[in-house]
Amino acid sequence: MVNDQFGMVGLLTFIRAAETDPNLVALAPGIDLTTLGLNLNSPENLYSTFQSPWADSPCRPQDIDFHVHSEYLTNIFIREKLAPIKLNRYGEDLLFFLFYMNNGDVLQLAAAVELYNRDWRYHKEDRVWITRAPGMDPSIKTNSYEKGTYYFWDAPSWRKVAKEFLLEYDKLEDRPHLPHTLHHNPNQ
């Protein structure tokens, strides 16, 4: 057999080396390209929401600069005249909008905190917001779970949906907290 790097033994040596050397992995078996945050089955083109070569998710809609008349842009002087952002003054609909549209941003966390304050709870497994249906006490209640009718926020249809559900307390997220060292933003 070929006894240098250009035969089967050479390939085998490289494969075995890659099993131990993490630096080689990128090249030897290569990378699972479906894990790079691009929806390769998307019917739409990808480039128009491509965020960055280092980002593992596409742009959020609000990140994409679109050419609009300059009057539409919030000028730094108008900014001072606009009401400050106070989530406790907004309806649930807007809170859910801010939560779902600002992944990876402090706004998502702030919306989660405000929803928690209004007795919504985030189900970590089903990844939905849930709250008690008013006047509907749980039919079963133990110290680890309860069963009853609850309201879910159904994001796809963007409305509250009532559902029978067995609710395990440990699957609910505790009170979320805003990061202490908020990246202070002079414009906010």
């Binding site: 057999m1 070929v2 089967m8 390939l11 085998l12 090249l27 790079l36 070569p53 280092w54 202070h184």
Partner: protein, 517 residues
């Protein structure tokens, strides 16, 4: 050098003045009111008097903007968001001034003065960057330059009438600048550079909006600049964290191109294969897997797939690169043509190996672009020759020809490195259904069948297997060739010692065979 006395102070005064005017409520729509007042001030200060003064003004302004950013970046107490807001407060104003000067220089129909000014300013910013990069070395920061380039590009690609007639020249100006700033020239700017050339507005302009695909060649050149920079680190397969991030970012960009512009990758795959190191298999597979969007690929695992019956298999792929030019020197090309035509001079075959060897390329003894071009040239000549006899490529029609003499001579005469590169050049043509895929698939199988030593068969298997065991995607032509090799008993594949040389290898073949059956 030799800035006229007082120019530095004048420039600082004017820049500060402009930044305040840009951010003032009276700036007006797109800062046009502020601009008309400010141009008056520039005149008053004599800045617009000569080309030389304008050049000095832009250089000094760029340096002042950059210095301001370095000071902000060195403020440890501030958060990244605050630092950026401070830097962009000035940089965005400076960009607006540049874009307004470009749009309003010369009368509205005079595109030459506009483009000349844009090229000048881009050249100045690039010059300041390269000098800064050299002086500050590992303290260099990409932030101010990245912001200037991307915001200027976005401003000059806004849908405005004054820009409509010069979009392509604007694109060309930016491509030239990015080529000047390619990673091998400014490695400290490489991440920002890849951000810039993969920005959605830039890709949109270069590959989608510009008519007749006039941006494709320039974009291919930028990708080649990037791959050439990564090449030494990829070839060594030893990627530091920083290089891995750049490599992964490159794969993301190539994936976007594979999904949105596969025809672009189809057209330029020849150039990319010349610069991608042979062991960088997944990136090369990604490019070779591209196929025209209007084409439907038959499942390569279809039992008894009749490849030569496919409608697309007789059509040659589009070739936009002049690979024939790669076959140098001219005397070698002349002997090659002569041999193809009349199998003379006979010495051509024995001289072949030395013609393919180079001494100046680090990491290899052969000229990969020359081997790739030779294989492609001989193959395309062979296809033409076979079609001229009213035949189509098959194991019988490709045999006993001057073309196959050359391929068989290369298979026999080259050393293991040369043969590996030669077989790679053939495997690089195994793509979507087209006449090249068909011919080179037959050629690889023919060389396997006619091999006079098992080493040739082993290396053919190695070249195919290493392309199959990496993560997806896998080119269609590669799959159908390998399936034929392991299924067709005439190749006697399973009886070779190298198939059973190690448990992992045997298992790999068996798993591929299972997915084939």
């Amino acid at each position: 050098f030799d800035d006229p006395p007082g120019l530095h102070e004048k420039t600082e005064f004017l820049l500060r003045e402009w930044v305040n005017m840009y951010h003032s409520p009276a700036a007006g729509r797109d800062s046009t009111k502020a601009f008309s007042m400010f141009v008056g001030q520039m005149h008053q200060q004599g800045i617009l008097k000569t080309d030389d003064l304008i050049t000095r003004f832009f250089r000094l302004s760029t340096e002042m903007c950059v210095d301001l950013c370095y000071r902000a970046l060195n403020e440890q107490t501030h958060s990244p968001t605050l630092i950026r807001a401070k830097c962009f407060h000035t940089l965005d104003a400076f960009v607006r001034l540049i874009s307004l000067l470009v749009k309003h220089s010369g009368d509205s129909t005079n595109s030459v003065t506009k483009i000349n000014l844009l090229n000048k300013v881009l050249g100045i910013v690039a010059g300041v960057l390269l000098q800064d990069h050299e002086v500050r070395n590992t303290e260099f920061q990409q932030l101010p330059y990245h912001r200037i380039f991307i915001m200027l590009f976005i401003e000059l690609n806004a849908p405005e009438q004054v820009l409509d007639g010069i979009n392509f020249q604007i694109l060309t100006a930016f491509c030239n600048t990015f080529h000047i700033l390619r990673p091998r020239k400014a490695p400290g700017f490489a991440y920002a550079w890849l951000e810039l050339i993969s920005h959605r507005v830039f890709i949109g302009r270069m590959l989608a909006i510009t008519p007749q695909q006039r941006g494709w060649g320039m974009y291919a050149q930028l990708l080649i600049d990037l791959i050439k920079f990564l090449s030494p680190f990829l070839r060594n397969a030893d990627l530091t964290k920083a290089a891995q991030l750049l490599y992964k970012g490159t794969l993301r960009v190539l994936l976007v191109l594979l999904h949105d512009f596969p025809e672009f990758l189809c057209d330029y795959h020849y150039l990319f294969c010349d610069v991608i190191p042979p062991n960088c298999i997944q990136m090369r597979n990604l490019i070779l897997s591209a196929f025209p969007r209007n084409m439907r690929l038959p499942d390569p695992f279809t039992p008894n797939l009749k490849v030569d019956m496919l409608s697309d298999i007789t059509h040659p792929p589009r070739i936009v690169t002049n690979f024939t030019n790669m076959i140098q020197p001219a005397s070698f090309k002349k002997d090659l043509d002569s041999y193809l035509k009349s199998r003379a001079p006979v010495t051509f075959l024995s001289d072949l190996r030395s013609n393919l060897q180079v001494s100046n390329e680090p990491g290899t003894r052969y000229s990969i672009p020359l081997i790739n071009a030779l294989v492609l040239y001989v193959g395309t000549q062979a296809i033409t020759y076979i079609h001229s006899k009213g035949q189509t490529p098959s194991m019988s029609t490709i045999a006993h020809s001057s073309h196959m003499d050359i391929f068989q001579n290369l298979a026999v005469d080259l050393d293991t490195e040369g043969r590996y590169l030669f077989l790679n050049a053939i495997a690089n043509q195994l793509r979507y259904p087209n006449s090249h895929t068909h011919y080179f698939s037959c050629t690889l199988l023919y060389l396997f069948a006619e091999a006079n030593t098992e080493a040739i068969q082993e290396q053919i298997t190695r070249v195919l297997l290493e392309r199959l065991i990496v993560n997806r995607p896998h080119p269609w032509g590669l799959l159908i060739t390998f399936i034929e090799l392991i299924k067709n008993p005439s190749f006697n594949f399973w009886n070779h010692e190298f198939v059973h040389c190690a448990p992992e290898i045997h298992k790999l073949f068996e798993s591929v065979a299972r997915s084939c059956t």
